[in-house]
């Protein structure tokens, strides 16, 4: 008899567990850890949204919705994208409500990948793109973004990796883990090299509300030549502090959204109904809550950046998401060593850059989704830790 584990599909066996998962298992064993390791907001979901959730339960609105999601919610999403990015999407046919942006990533990839198609992913970036491409039968082609460019993606870097097999580009900005953003001028340059290609751009804009320094998020879909090639993915997790509600959405050309809806219909049926009703409230009434959170993140970002620079860690000024990505090469440690020792010796958890792409070597991801007091405490410990290693 074969062992059970050998019954697992080979391509699934071959996919490694995420580096973050492994690190979590270690960190979770240690008592009294201060963490800068999370990828989710520390804020509570605004009360108006939670209250709507309670009301939804009271009214027993607990049945399936249409596959694409409540029309009322799709209409609000459509209005939101118009208001924020001046994008026009018809709520009937161009918007799909998903189980987080996570599902959107999977659907978009499955909808466009034929076996052997190549998909470009700028790295360092979020952990799930690569496995999702592989599971969809595609080949991930990594583009290494560089700290000299503040981890923005350049047209030259895309050109280097473009082939006849390139089917899609994942555009993950504002970026997890680097905090990099792409401004209009950066997007226009990459649009120039993509506009005459048959390529789909999967734009993961989950951090779109979190940009700083007076720069508003631009979606690549705002560029005329890109609108018809782009699937915009977004959600409620980060902007409204709703990670556990599992709700996101995709917007794009109707043919692509229809294909994604077909997959969604068979594997998910519909996104959670209570979350959908609550999200209507979020889009209607919570702009102020979002700006308050943004302001608070911005202050923390400055405190953390200032702290790293003061202790002599090079760190570019990230203008998006809620991460800083300082370089730790000056300690002589690899990212993994740094994070493991920091955890055991200083009891501070941060994420090794390598968990988010091999090119993250030499960097660590530090989240500022924590109170300023917690950040300051962690910074003090990191500083003491670094001093020790510099001397040795």
């Amino acid at each position: 008899m074969t062992e059970i584990k050998d019954l697992i599909a080979t391509h699934i066996q071959n996919i490694p567990y995420s580096g973050i998962r492994k690190f979590f298992d270690v960190a979770n064993e240690i008592e009294g850890v201060i963490s800068l390791g999370v990828g989710e907001p520390d804020f509570e979901t605004p009360w108006a949204i939670r209250e709507r959730g309670i009301y939804t339960l009271e009214k027993c609105r607990t049945v399936y919705t249409s596959n694409a999601g409540l029309l009322e919610l799709r209409e609000e999403i459509s209005r939101y994208l118009k208001r924020k990015n001046n994008l026009d999407y018809n709520p009937k046919g161009q918007v799909l409500v998903t189980v987080g942006a996570s599902e959107g990533i999977d659907l978009a990839l499955r909808a466009v990948i034929n076996p052997g198609d190549e998909v470009l992913i700028p790295e360092p970036s979020y952990v799930s793109y690569k496995p999702c491409i592989i599971m969809a039968g595609g080949i991930p082609i990594v583009i290494t973004t560089k700290v000299e460019n503040e981890f923005r993606l350049t047209a030259e870097e895309i050109l280097e990796k473009l082939t006849d097999k390139t089917k899609a580009l994942i555009l993950p900005y504002p970026n997890n883990p680097t905090g990099a953003i792409m401004e209009k001028k950066d997007l226009e340059k990459i649009a120039d090299v993509l506009k005459d290609r048959d390529i789909v751009i999967i734009s993961d804009e989950i951090y779109s509300e979190l940009t700083y320094g007076g720069i508003k998020h631009t979606s690549i879909a705002e560029i005329d030549s890109m609108y018809n090639k782009t699937i915009v993915l977004n959600g409620f997790s980060k902007s409204y502090a709703m990670t556990g509600w599992r709700l996101g959405y995709a917007a794009g050309p109707k043919e692509l959204i229809a294909a994604m809806t077909k997959i969604h219909q068979y594997i998910i049926m519909c996104a959670p109904t209570i979350s959908q009703y609550s999200a209507i409230e979020a889009l209607r009434c919570c702009d102020d809550d979002v700006s308050k959170m943004r302001k608070e993140y911005d202050a923390r970002r400055r405190v953390m950046l200032n702290g790293f620079r003061k202790m002599g860690l090079e760190c570019f000024e990230a203008l998006g998401a809620f991460y800083l990505f300082p370089c730790i090469k000056s300690t002589g440690l690899s990212s993994d060593e740094f994070c493991e020792r920091l955890l055991y010796e200083a009891k501070v958890a941060v994420v090794p850059g390598t968990a988010l792409g091999e090119c993250g070597e030499g960097f660590i991801r530090c989240s500022y989704a924590y109170s300023i007091e917690a950040i300051q405490k962690a910074l003090q410990k990191i500083e003491a830790f670094i001093k020790k290693y510099r001397k040795e």
Binding site: S18, F24, N28, S35, V38, E40, Y126, V127, S128
Partner: protein, 163 residues
């Protein structure tokens, strides 16, 4: 910038100019000057601590009352003069001019109901312009200045590390 500074101070008045400067990406000097100006302009009127007195006076000995006061406004002076006569008493914590059924809301603190009643009958009701008062005692304070007083200490429910 001034608005950003007071938003921070409103939440935590112990933040120093140096800390605020880092949070806002300004120089300490700029922030210190702005704070001094706002103090001079009575925009920042004081720095206090929000105290949950119920925890100190567990067995009583501390009450808060809200008093609705109807008054006759005075010629040329309106309500300001009478408000001043009232707010100058130490025990009076807040005085607001209201629209609607009555004119002034007076919030005061005292050791017990008797002390407050005495104050009202002796000092408040006897003022010439005061027509009537209605006193309400506070039984429990839930939230003050945007802060929930008996908030449970919430644990961070998040996993230590997540993608």
């Amino acid at each position: 910038m001034k608005k950003d500074i007071i938003e921070i101070l409103e939440k935590d008045s112990r933040k120093t100019a140096a800390e605020i400067a880092v949070m806002l990406g300004k120089s300490e000097q700029e922030v210190a000057v702005a704070i001094a100006e706002m103090e001079a302009d009575n925009i920042i009127c004081g720095y206090t601590t929000l105290i949950n007195w119920e925890k100190i006076y567990k067995d009583g000995g501390f009450v808060t009352a809200l008093i609705e006061v109807k008054v006759t406004p005075q010629r040329d002076l309106g309500f300001d003069k009478i408000a001043e006569r009232i707010y100058n008493f130490d025990k009076v914590k807040s005085v607001y001019l209201m629209s609607g059924a009555y004119d002034l809301t007076v919030i005061m603190e005292g050791k017990n109901l008797l002390e407050i009643s005495k104050f009202i009958s002796a000092k408040l009701s006897t003022l010439d312009s005061v027509l009537s008062t209605a006193t309400h005692f506070v039984l429990k304070k839930y939230k003050e200045h945007g802060i929930i007083l008996n908030a449970e200490n919430k644990n961070d429910e998040r996993m230590i590390v997540s993608p």
